[in-house]
Symmetry: C3
Subunit: 335 residues, 3 copies
């Protein structure tokens, strides 16, 4: 069970063993979080820098708490008050935090590929610094998909969450597939787990071109639907995606109300699913849009709170796995 992956940028090429190592490590940290003293000294003295070029409270707080519980030192890069407005390039900003002694950079940017570009530069300079993609444009959001995976596997076997538990299960991913980095990362992990993944959304948010992806990369595992119902039939899990308000002003939707009528998850529609169906949502939720308000609060169906809790354990596991690797190379860094 050795770990060799230095950056967490995309789930595209993760294999089953890596997923299982991550799930087991997260499970150990969940155990730590139930103790009276919720801290371990694993990353003591290491510096984790949160570089959220795109504002975020939820994900940043989750990474921050995870890093604190590993006893790391944390620097927060604040975009509004930053050198970026002074003409500095993103790579130069990253190199500045490198030179300060950063070991792990957690990066969010509204443009796809920014974490990859920084990772490539860090490798080219032979720095030993790890990059963790916390969401890049409409591309990927690996830690979100991993916490979803951990939540699902833990539901089926709390003590030994592992990929094979999901084999043959059906999940519906509903909503704004086109713009969702959460969906993109989840498709990689859920198909690797052997699930049957059904995407559903209006044509403007689930365009025809996804058929190509489906055929090329996921033969027999990925289905597309412009109607909600076929995706829900006998589904074990339903993952609704956040609908951003600006989609309406982009002329992609007539109104939030009509979206809810067509694709909102309600108690009535859940009757199509497997009786034990559970609902996921990456948050923040627009109540009454993606999901009816009462359903969101019904702990018989909703896994939304568990997803947030899983986030701490999964992010601790990610920081720990790459941080332990990074430490081995850390001698080369200071001039």
């Amino acid at each position: 069970m050795t770990w060799t992956r230095h950056h967490i940028l995309s789930l595209a090429d993760w294999n089953t063993q890596e997923y299982n190592t991550l799930l087991q490590t997260a499970s150990s940290f969940r155990e730590v979080l139930s103790r009276r003293t919720k801290k371990v000294p694993a990353l003591q003295g290491q510096v984790v820098t949160n570089m959220f070029f795109e504002p975020s409270t939820r994900t940043r707080s989750s990474f921050e708490l995870a890093a604190k519980r590993l006893s790391a030192d944390i620097l927060n890069f604040a975009p509004g008050t930053s050198s970026l407005t002074k003409g500095e390039t993103i790579l130069d900003t990253a190199k500045t935090y490198l030179a300060m002694g950063t070991d792990i950079m957690v990066i969010r940017h509204k443009q796809a590929g920014v974490p990859h570009a920084i990772a490539a530069e860090m490798d080219r300079l032979n720095t030993g610094v790890s990059i963790l993609n916390a969401g890049d444009g409409q591309h990927e959001h690996p830690s979100q998909a991993l916490l979803d995976l951990f939540t699902l596997c833990s539901l089926l076997d709390f003590d030994q969450p592992r990929l094979e538990l999901l084999q043959g299960k059906k999940i519906a991913i509903v909503g704004d597939i086109l713009h969702s980095r959460v969906a993109r990362s989840n498709i990689w992990s859920l198909t690797e787990a052997g699930m049957s993944v059904h995407l559903a959304g209006p044509p403007t948010l689930l365009p025809q071109l996804f058929s190509q992806i489906k055929t090329d990369f996921y033969p027999g595992q990925l289905s597309l639907h412009w109607q909600l119902e076929p995706a829900l039939i006998e589904a074990d899990f339903v993952m609704t995606l956040r609908l951003q308000h600006e989609r309406m002003t982009d002329y992609l939707l007539p109104s939030l109300r009509e979206y809810h009528q067509g694709y909102g998850i309600t108690r009535d529609r859940l009757k199509l699913c497997h009786p034990n169906v559970k609902i996921l949502h990456p948050g923040p939720v627009n109540r009454g849009v993606e999901i009816s308000s009462d359903l969101m609060d019904d702990s018989n169906f909703s896994l939304i709170q568990q997803q947030v809790t899983s986030g701490i354990a999964v992010r601790m596991a990610l920081l720990y796995l790459i941080g332990t690797l990074a430490e081995e190379r850390s001698e080369v860094k200071h001039f």
Copy 2:
């Protein structure tokens, strides 16, 4: 001397014993703060989340330092960059931080009742999380009133601050009573201490309806004055309230200058008071408006610096008392 209060929302129903427990605990922490190592491990591993929906530097810093000195982990919720702008409800934001493992939420909101609503939801969900109201609209600001109380009692007996010391003393609370959550919380604690509380302010900021409150809740203890002088006569303490500039544009005041002429505390006016009179102000101060600039800096009269220092000890005491309670219930929280 056991503590049973789980949330700190309002001082309306605090009894003398609770005030005295708080004062004694704060006194112990003040002693810790005078040591070389100013930290205690009391809340190690616990998470204190500052949720300041209304911006604040002073109060947030005070809570943050108090939590650090109790060795808690701190998360700061930043309103500007938050999920709230993405359509999430306040309760859902609170539940997200709950799911991350928050033990105590320190909440400020411009709308009265928000901390109470969150506390009710936390109790309904049986979470064990404690809510500390750090100022809600024009309603209450309990930690400010408690640090005022601690400052006053410590002045009279530094080593054993207790409520009975204030029995029969006269305090004038001057200024914008109508909009002041500081005044509201202070009225509860100061009348419980048996003080004679005199409110003074212009009719627009101390409306007639306060007479009703006075008669109903505080017979014989609360007096109202539209002139400053009767409130000051023989007063042991004068508490001036912050005058917010927007009150002028609200047509509640002719000008800051005229306000100062009518209700500003000056050296001359203090002659009406008891010779040992002391002045309090919750800060930040508009020099030359609520109080003359030279008086504010005169340590013979001003307790303003002591109030800030008291704030750390009192907030450590509050976090400690509710945190110790919360810990006992913390097993139920992680799924």
Copy 3:
């Protein structure tokens, strides 16, 4: 090797012994930073408050990490959300953080003299609090000049950086001298080191009045040039200064392109310098303006990354030296 300087406001009156103590202390901390556990308990329990009235990410992060590695508690004063917008004076804000228990204030302000004014008030009140100027207007930025000095001396003798190593060396400081607090602080330290300092820039950014300063304070050590070439000839070091974009709208420059043609550092121009010439820049860099992009990335010439790394060690040394002094007086502070 005793340290007696309580505030770090300006380098104008630093003597050689002080510079050498600082360089040696920074060298020790650099060694600490190369260890597995990069922390020392030197300032445990002390409070360092960052008061950046002017936004900054780079310098604030550097001070924050330095303070964390000394185990201090850190408070961040955020100007946008502060009491300043509520009418409080800067001195009152500082006194509030004093009353909370601050031991060291790190202050940046766009107006020259603010750190000095606060230091004077802290001394007048006999508080024992130390002030560290992190950049005041166009006046001084001592920690930047000290990290530059540490970088230069470490280049010449890594293990024993000391002032005499720079004796007789030539440095060109290029660009917007008029507005640069970095230049002003560096001129003090580099002339004290016995260097030959050559300032070069366009007349609008290096006005005639500097000749007066040159003659009065630095006879024989400071030269002024409105052309770049004479400054570069045989130079051992070239320090380029940041060019702020607003200089163009101030009508001080025709265009960034013309500035680069006249004063930008390029590979071709470096041929005028000593063959081992090194380049410094305080950052953030406008690539292709102050310096050509490829040159900035050439580690044979550029010391820019080392400057950032030096910043952590130098700021640890500053905080440590004044913090150790401050601690001796700390008993007087709590009421």
